[in-house]
Symmetry: C2
Subunit: 430 residues, 2 copies
């Protein structure tokens, strides 16, 4: 039986929107947004798209008109009543009313601010300038739109059964990963793959497959819309943009040196338990930990997002010991460039030393490597970062110099202020 | 948008019928049915299910009540108006009105005759006794029902995503076969996989994937329902049951020796061109060809369905030459135990000598080998054969002694009458 109404309804769409909800975004963006809304409501920030994979000519692959349509559609979105109810009424990390009434009232009235889009050679310049807590919400949908439009450019030319087999192969691959993870004892793994996902539907499929295949070992998804839809836990804490913007807003070297701790002091006031997770690598993990105040050692865990993860994990464990903390009561969260082998390896190395979790991103939700000729569906390294705050450029050093960003002179200044010496370069996978 | 009417409609089904149409059967059954209807309308024949894979305990796997429901449902089917129109109006092998008005009128009124079902140990005895042209139509739906019920017994316990990945893997496998066949020049291949298919929907998927992936190299399907639905060619000619029943009806050794030619004489009167295909192996290909009348050498081709296919193909080519026929104008059809490697091998050996085609059966429409634990979805060797005609047992010798059937004393008699000596045994794949 053909449902005529559904067919007609579907044909009414002018476009097939990639992002259909303001909460089709990572949970930690909303946590950070609320923190910024309270602590730095006047900061003006610029976010910018950065394609680290310059061999992917995004402006040749993606039609500018289609890109504008998708971005314009996102600007037409506002929080739905059910989404608002979920954010207000749900428990996150066991806590009710994670989002305060004043924040929710503001969020309910929000539409995303304008974007600036310009073709530059074979790439797009895509920037968002405005109040930090507004423009920061562009990051995830902008990335998701670009990744999916690039995928559509490839799948658009494929036959119906060729397409079905493409997804059959990708599903088989995800399931084989699930099967390879099944026998890891006490595994704790979440989906962190919104930003560079193949598509929303695909991410939703991967999340459900992980849930069915791994049971309780799958702890949830960073994607709020999917967490709501599938009644799962929304997962995430904070990201580099917090120390990066706090640092850019610092008036002198002394306050710059303090900025990464200031931001966590604000966080400390707002969150407890599993939300107190340190992300130490923005300006070098070693210096950050060496100079950290003692109250930070009392936090629940450390997220490891760059550099060699085993080295960083050992550094974290040593730091806890040096500060008189028992690593067995702590948590390490790995979230950089993960795939099954790396997850198994890290689990084998550290599960007997501390609690560990994995935030699995791109190679969960976008592993289409090798599935089409010329690998034109392989994921690539696209980010959308805060590049300036109140007129000052932001800087990220990372534990991997290949992930560093900012003007050269500022990078030099930050290295001096944070005492960062030589670093090992790691290939950026995705 | 949920289509409420469809949901409610679907819930009204008491069972999920496996066979929903009288033409969900092989085309050659209808051609043979018409021939029998004209030439042997009074013969009484018994068809019987034979599970050659005795390690598959069908009666333990399949609930008898469910089996009866499916068989009863098939007895409720009659030819629909559209199906009748298609049989009457379509061209088959380039010919209109392949089915004569008197046959169509009878077929339009047909309901399948009763079945006899009884559990015997861990197997089912399932027999159909009655007018030959009526009971012979049970063969394909009975096999399809048993194969699919056995599959449902396995898939019934699987999770939603586990199921989806099962089909993803099976689809990937079919597509890889399609890709492996793509570069064979002048390939001509058809689906012969109705009887031992995984399911109707799966066969339909395989047929469409072959069509998209192989284009004109895919010549059609033996399944009438799918041929009609997908507007493809219906493929097939005749089978062992014709000489087997003619032989069983023979009154003495002399008419027994003549029976395999008598049946083809009837066929000769009714069909021409690509429908004049000899199936020589029922009582040994060598004797059959040696003793064949010259008019048979004028037929279009030979189907090779048992024994070593290359040996049989060489025998056919030599026979044509010996009878003054040019093999380059002839056609060989391979239809036994085919998979990609065998198809490539036979094509490489014979494509420069004669026209060749492939009728690809079980390993096209039911290659679920290795996809579930204990291989419980692997296809197995189930047949439904004419075992008696007017009270006499039927006999098949085949070119493979493992495919032989009939009482021992009758087999001995047939071997003597047809001059069959030592034979090479071949493993029966499916």
């Amino acid at each position: 039986m053909v449902d005529i109404a559904t067919r007609v309804w579907n044909h009414k769409w002018k476009i097939d929107p990639i992002v259909r909800s303001l909460i089709d975004t990572d949970f930690y963006k909303l946590l950070m947004c609320q923190s910024i809304f309270r602590n730095r409501p006047d900061a003006t920030v610029t976010f910018s798209l950065i394609n680290r994979s310059t061999h992917i000519p995004l402006a040749d692959l993606i039609d500018e008109g289609e890109l504008r349509e998708q971005l314009d559609h996102i600007r037409s979105l506002s929080l739905s009543r059910g989404e608002s109810t979920w954010l207000r009424g749900n428990t996150f990390y066991g806590k009710r009313q994670m989002f305060r009434p004043d924040f929710m009232e503001w969020f309910e009235g929000l539409r995303l601010p304008p974007y600036h889009l310009e073709r530059k050679g074979d790439q797009y310049e895509l920037t968002f300038e405005g109040k930090w807590h507004e423009v920061m919400l562009w990051e995830i949908p902008a990335l998701a739109v670009l990744m999916e439009l690039r995928g559509r450019a490839v799948t658009g030319g494929m036959g119906k059964f060729e397409l079905q087999v493409l997804y059959a192969r990708a599903m088989t691959r995800v399931w084989e990963k699930v099967e390879a993870l099944r026998d890891i004892p006490d595994l704790s793994i979440a989906d962190f793959g919104t930003r560079r996902r193949h598509s929303f539907l695909w991410q939703d499929w991967c999340v459900q497959a992980m849930s069915e295949g791994l049971g309780d070992a799958f702890t949830g998804t960073s994607n709020c819309k999917i967490a709501m839809k599938r009644e799962m836990e929304a997962i995430g804490t904070n990201a580099h943009e917090l120390p990066m913007v706090y640092a850019a807003l610092a008036k002198d070297d002394e306050s710059l040196a303090r900025a990464p701790y200031d931001v966590l002091e604000d966080w400390h006031d707002e969150h407890e338990g599993n939300l107190r997770i340190i992300l130490p690598d923005t300006y070098g993990s070693k210096g950050f930990l060496d100079n950290a105040p003692d109250w930070l050692a009392g936090w629940t865990g450390i997220r490891i997002d760059s550099g060699d993860p085993a080295t960083a994990a050992r550094m974290a464990i040593d730091w806890w010991k040096a500060r008189g903390e028992d690593p067995a009561t702590k948590r390490l969260i790995f979230s950089d460039g993960l795939d099954v082998d790396k997850i198994r390896e890290l689990h084998g190395q550290f599960a007997d030393k501390t609690s560990i979790s994995f935030g699995w991103g791109t190679l969960l939700t976008n592993d289409f490597r090798g599935l089409v000729p010329d690998d034109r569906l392989a994921p690539f390294s696209l980010v959308c970062k805060a590049v300036a705050a109140d007129g000052n450029p932001t800087v990220k050093l990372s534990d991997n110099p290949k992930k560093a960003m900012g003007p050269a002179d500022e990078i030099a200044r930050y290295k001096r202020v944070f005492g960062v010496g030589a670093q090992d370069a790691q290939e950026v996978v995705v």
